[in-house]
Every structure is written in C-alpha cells, then in structure tokens.
Amino acid sequence: MATLPPVATATGAAARPAPPALRRVRRRRRPSGEPPPLPRHLAKSGKWWLAASAGVVVAWIVVAATGSVSHFDVVDTRVLQAFAQMRTAPLTRAALIAGGLATPIAVYVLWVANLAILVVLRRWRHLFVWFGVALVVVAFGSLMLNALQRPRPYDVELLGRWSGYSMPSLPITVLTAFLVSTLYALVPAGRTRTVGKWVICALLAITALSRLYLAQDHPTDIVAGAVLGVAVPLAAFRLLTPNDVFPVRYSRGRTAHLDVTGARGDAIVRALQDQLGLLATSVEPFNLAGSGGSTPLRIGVKSGEAAGETFVFGKLYAATHVRSDRWYKLGRTLLYGRLEDEQPFHSPRRLVQYEDYVLHLLSDAGLAVPRPLGIVEITPEREYVLVTEFIDGAREIGDAEVDERIIDQGLSIVRRLWDVGMAHRDIKPANVLVRNGTMFLIDTAFAEVRPSPWRQAVDLANMMLVLALRTDAEQVYRRARLQFSDEEIAEAFAATRGLTMPSQLRHLLREQGRDLHAQFLQLLPYRLPPVRIQRWSWRRVILTIATLFAALLAALILVNNLGQPL
C-alpha cells in the first residue's frame, strides 16, 4: 500500500512529528550453531533427574526381561534384615511416628492444603501444574505397581501400614512429588527454595528410614519412588512454570509480566545490538498496569546525537502471552460468537509478526501510531521483542487537555481506519495518547484487517465515548457529524454496549457517573435497533459444548481426587 498523507481533520491535517534520530551500529547475523540470545534450557539438575527416572524405567525393563528380580530381592532383603536386627520397642514406636508423613491422611492434608492455598493466591497456572503432576504421578505409579507386581519384602516381619505391591513405593513417590510440587508452587526461587530442598531431603530421608526399619518397602522401591517423585514435578514446573516467566512472589504485581533483569535483560541488550544495531543502555518495565498481553518495556538507547540518549519502546512477547491471547479469544468467541471473526495465534513469532505488520499498515495509512523499528528474537519460537518508536512525553487522553482539535483527530483516526478497511478493536483511554496537540493511537495487537462492519462501528462509538470522557457528549457529537453521517453514528451506538467496550472505558464511565452512552443516544435524530451481540455458529456451539464438558470433567477429577489422592 502506498503511504497515505497524514490524517486530515475538520480543523486541518494533523502534523506528525519526526521520531528522534537513533544511533545505529552494524548489525550482526547469528551464525548457524550459535545459541540464541536467551537459550531455553532445563537446569542441570532437571536433566539429571530425568535421566535417573529414565534409568529406573530401563532397569525395570531389563529386570523384567531377564527375570533377575530375585537377585535384587536378596540384596534388598539383606539390607532390611540388617535394619530389623536393630528393632527395639521404643525404636519401633519412633519409626511408626516418623513414617507418618507417608500415610494417606498426611498426604491428603498436603494435597488439600496446597490446592486451597493456590486457589486463595489465584496462582492458577501453578495449581493446574500441581494438579497435573498429582494425576500423572499417581496414575503412573499405580500403573507400574500393577505391571511389575512385586510383593512386599520376604524373610522379614512387616510392621505398620502398607497396601498393595511394593515397586515403586507409591507412598514415597506421591509424598516426594507433593513435597517438590509444594516447593515449586509456593516457595519463591532463591535461597528460600534452596533451604526448602534440604528440608524436603531431610523429611524424605526420615520417612525412607522409617519404612526401611519397618520393612514396608524394599530399598530399591524407595529409590525408584523418590526418583520418579522428584523428576515428574521438577520437569513439569521448570518447563511449564519457569521462574523467570511465572515467578512465585508474595508481593503485589501482575504475574503475567516477564522479569527483564538478569539473563533476559542482558539477552535483550545483546539482541538489540546484533539484530537492529541499537545500542541499549537500559531495559525497564513500563506501564505494566496498562498491559496484560505483553510485557511493555522502555529501552534507553544511544541517540543519533553525540553522547545523547533517547528511548525506544519494546513489547516483549512470550509463549505465555500467546496462551493468554488464545484463552482471551476463546472467551470472546464463547461470549460473542460469530461477530468475532478472529483466530488465535499459535506462536509468539506469529503474534509479533502480525503486530509489526499492522503497525506498518497503519503507519503507511498516515495514522499517528508508533513507528515500527523491527523485531528482535530473544528465544526462537518463544520470546520476541517488537521495537517501536517511544512516544516520549505523551499523556493518556484521560489526563490530557482535550480540545476540538484533539476531538477531530480522534474521529479522523476512526474515519481513516474505516477507509483503509481496518479496526483497532481496543480503543480505550490507555491506548489513546496526546503529546503537544497530536493524538497517537497505540497498542495495535488486536487490530484487524477487513473486520466485520460491527467491529468498525464499535471503534467509532468507543472513540466518541473516550473523547467525551474529557469533554461532553454534545461537543463530540457535533464534531462527529462533520465526518460521519447520522446513520453511521446511530449504527455505532446500536453496536456498542456493555461488554463491547474495553473494561477500562467501562470503569471510567462508571466512575464519572455519567451515562454517556445514553446521552449520545438522546442526541441522535433517530435510533437503530441494537445490534444483537449473541450470534451462534457451529464453531461456537462446538466450542461451548467442549468447554462445558472439559469444565465438568475437571470438576469430576477434582472431586474424585479431593477425596483421596492415594
């Protein structure tokens, strides 16, 4: 598309100031084989535990295939007999108490307490991983018990409680998995978690010694159980809730945002230089409260002037944001149906490519949007930064002076969006900035090319409501009639109500106590019947049924396992 002139308003063309000059250095292509700026990895200990669990499975297969279990039985029995030689009445009482942690009631308390705490803290991702780990560990442990069919130890008196076959030791497997899951879901990374690991080691050692003393399990049952019990939650939590993406914190703050200090911060600086030739001097989160779909960054860079510095804006997208986008769109499809003719993104690369493309499109259309500067790869297929111009010194429209010139610019932006066949779809005060009498439209992640007419109409109504927040409905309506027909404005307000407005806009309208929507309707010479939001399609029906079915199953699983995980 050829670049269009700046948006013309009823009060003249809105001049768009040039962005500050940036100092650029020679870019560098990453050679084949060189790791990306932030390689994805499972920590060494995670690999070790996964290898150990693979070793356990291989050992089971070898023993089963060669029929050599009796050799292990003999060795195990001699160890247990040595423990049994030490038995005295007080020691036995102590061992029975020490083994209490592996009893069904203790495991049950651990299970319910964790679920309750995670629900209260609303740490849903950790909760789902916790729940998944419990299901997998119990199901796999149970499967292996029935596959291996190893009786309890021979030639020694068994004391205390036991149930079922012994390999792997299910109480040890489940207890270990639950303790490790607790550690990764509730204890912040760092020194506290390291201390927690040693506490878990001590608790498991005491429990294992108790079970050996009482001859409830063979030593090899305990080793196999502990290895599985560590490996499964460790792999699950490290892969699905990595610390740098989903840190366990007890301070306030949005957990969806990524930590940009440490290795990630260094990687961003290095990637900006290599891939865009920008010399970054600082990377810091910016206006986190206004963004849930990405981690917004203000990046200090060397400017074109000697020894000068300026800023660029970065939006860090990760796999977690793609998942959020997917859930968000699923929710909207369930809520609105056919009118939301949109598809979720399936990778951060696609998401960032799309937003970059939309920014180019809007910029070429002469709209005042941040100029796109490029995409930076942090971790292939997982993390990217979209770099744009930083609108330095701009204020949200809710805090800015709004006069007729600004009103005209806002309305002209919508007019131009209509002309080029686009919709922004998230027009709210946080996404409309004003600087020196120029309005900027930001956050184009939800923008759509060739949207439904309904979506375009909603954009107009939302823009008029945003503008009226700082002025009044009558003034905005009067200016709007210079660019839109009564029919178009009537359509906009017929299409917009309740959930079709961004939540920030709804909250501000409620705060002000003015029913601006009703005021606009009163100003209209006539009203159109409200556009029905609820439209049904086969896709929506299938998705609704599948979602309800999944929710029902999840509830059944929860109820079933709340009773007793062991």
Binding site: S70, N146, R152, Y154, L158, L330, T547
Partner: protein, 195 residues
C-alpha cells in the same frame, strides 16, 4: 475448529486420567491366580499371604471365570486382603472374598466343608427381593469369608461359582515357591530366630 479439537482431546485425556485415578491407587487389577504359570501362584496370592502372616491358607482364583463374570480388583494391605467378582446379572462386586486373621461366626450354621483342613459356616441374611449371605471357612491362623450380595433372580449360579472358582493355596506351597524362585536364599516368612 483447532481450539475445539484441542479441547476435545484434552477432555478425552482427562477422562482417561479420571478412569485411571478412580478408586484405590494400590488396587490390583490382575486376578490372583492359584496357578499363574509353571512357577506357581500369582504375585497377588503371595501378597495376600503377606497381608495375613498367620494364615495357613490363602484364597485365589482357581478356574476361569464363567461368561458374565469378571474380576473387579484386589486390595491387599496389612491385616487383611479382599477381592471382588462382578457379574453382569448380579451386579458389581456381587461376590467379595476376604482373608483375615479371624472372624466371628456367631449366628451361622456349620455345614460340611468342601476344602480339607477348614471348617465351613453359612449365614443367609436375606433371600428376598435379592440374595445376601456369607460363607466362612475357618482354618489355622485365618478366616476366609465369601460374601454374596446378588441383584439377580437366581443366586444359585453365584453360590456355585464361589465353590468352583474361588480356590485356596496352602501357605506351605507358597513358602516352597518363594524358596525355589529365590534359589533357596529367601523364605516367604521370617523363620525362627530371623528378624
């Protein structure tokens, strides 16, 4: 549609996990066969023997289950072991076989036993509208209880099944089996002077 397919797949997976997790996770799903292979009784029978170390006999499944009957599962724990048989006519867990160290036989009638070395007692609790009753086999160091809770019209089949299918293995045979399988290095039970 991809989201719908994913949701459906997740639902099926969750359903599978639900099925896998339902009930006791230490439940044994293979029947405890009196003769699992040429080496002797199945592992489930040995585990039941470990549940009640004093029992001189251990119950097992001695013959193939007739059409319409299925093995439910076995739970063996310290002090007791039990397994259930399901019937498509008499209902789930229609027959329960339980091994304990002792049992109360008051209110029962002793009848001639069909197993050597055991005394047999019978108690019929109800015959209408469905049959409920208990059969006891009392022997040295243990008691084998067979409980019937039959939803079908004809209790005769289930009662006969208990006699034909539910067998017993002598503990001495199991001891011999463990001794041989370990190359003479291990015994099922700790001997005199053993820990």
């Amino acid at each position: 549609m991809r989201a719908a397919a994913t949701a459906g797949l997740l639902a099926v997976l969750a359903g599978g996990l639900l099925t896998g997790c339902a009930g006791n996770s230490t439940a044994i799903t293979d029947p405890p066969l009196c003769r699992a292979d040429s080496d002797g009784a199945g592992s489930g029978v040995i585990l039941m023997a470990q549940s009640v170390p004093s029992a001189s006999f251990v119950p097992c499944i001695g013959a193939a289950l007739p059409l319409g009957w299925d093995f439910h599962h076995l739970i063996a724990r310290n002090g007791a072991a039990r397994f259930w048989l399901d019937s498509d006519r008499d209902g789930q867990q229609a027959v329960e076989v339980r091994l304990t160290e002792s049992c109360t036989t008051s209110g029962t009638t002793e009848i001639p036993s069909d197993h050597d070395g055991m005394r047999r007692f019978e108690r019929v609790t109800r015959i209408n509208p469905t049959y409920a009753g208990t059969r006891y086999y009392v022997f040295d160091g243990g008691c084998l209880t067979v409980s019937f809770s039959l939803a079908g019209d004809d209790p005769g089949e289930a009662l006969a099944l208990a006699s034909q299918v539910v067998g017993v293995v002598a503990r001495s045979d199991l001891q011999q089996q463990v001794h041989e399988q370990s190359g003479g290095r291990l015994e099922l039970d700790p001997g005199e002077g053993s820990p």
